[in-house]
């Protein structure tokens, strides 16, 4: 696609429910990233994919968080048993190649609210 697409754009869920957030990167971008953006906290790295594998998942805050990527394209971030502290904007980004050269292209994010 022309840009990085994320869905849904907004999600309200009840505490304890599972949620799935989807990211469709730019076609041909091999690297894909998930970040979390909270007020006053900036952007918190969650996980990085190169193709379908995740060489760096050091930012996942707990085992309730998981992510996968299939076909070197779409990625899904799953949060199980959501808690109120999971409320944030979840951002996806993709990169054409070496990040030091290209940087990221970001999606518009999914705003997750846990009530």
């Amino acid at each position: 696609g022309a840009g990085v697409s994320q869905s849904p754009s907004n999600k309200v869920t009840e505490k304890g429910k599972d949620v799935e957030l989807r990211c469709d990167p730019i076609s041909g971008h091999t690297a894909l990233y998930w970040y979390r953006q909270s007020l006053g906290q900036g952007l918190e790295f969650l996980i990085y994919f190169q193709g379908n594998s995740a060489p760096d998942k050091s930012g996942l805050p707990s085992d309730r968080f998981s992510a996968e990527r299939t076909g070197g394209s779409v990625s899904t971030l799953t949060i199980q048993r959501t808690q109120q502290e999971d409320s944030a904007v979840y951002l996806c980004a993709s990169s054409l190649g070496w990040v030091g050269n290209y940087g990221y292209t970001f999606g518009s994010g999914t705003r997750l609210t846990v009530v």
Binding site: A31, L43, S95, N101
Partner: protein, 110 residues
Amino acid sequence: AQRVTQPEKLLSVFKGAPVELKCNYSYSGSPELFWYVQYSRQRLQLLLRHISRESIKGFTADLNKGETSFHLKKPFAQEEDSAMYYCAPSWAGGSEKLVFGKGMKLTVNP
């Protein structure tokens, strides 16, 4: 530990005034450096990358390796520059990712 610091959370200036948005990093090695901008109700977008030496929307940033700084500057701010600005060095620890500062909100008043 690798760290990026944007020491000011807020900056308010009048149109036409110079602006400098500070960024300091503590890293081993030589990271690549970026500035990202987020205008109101828009997605994060790349503003400037050190590796290409481009000047975008009148902004420039000079890398000072001695001070480990990458401050963003513009000689004459415009109202449309009002936004959140994030400094982002690349991670030097073997993973290809960017590490973002907490951001700074710039407000340019008429």
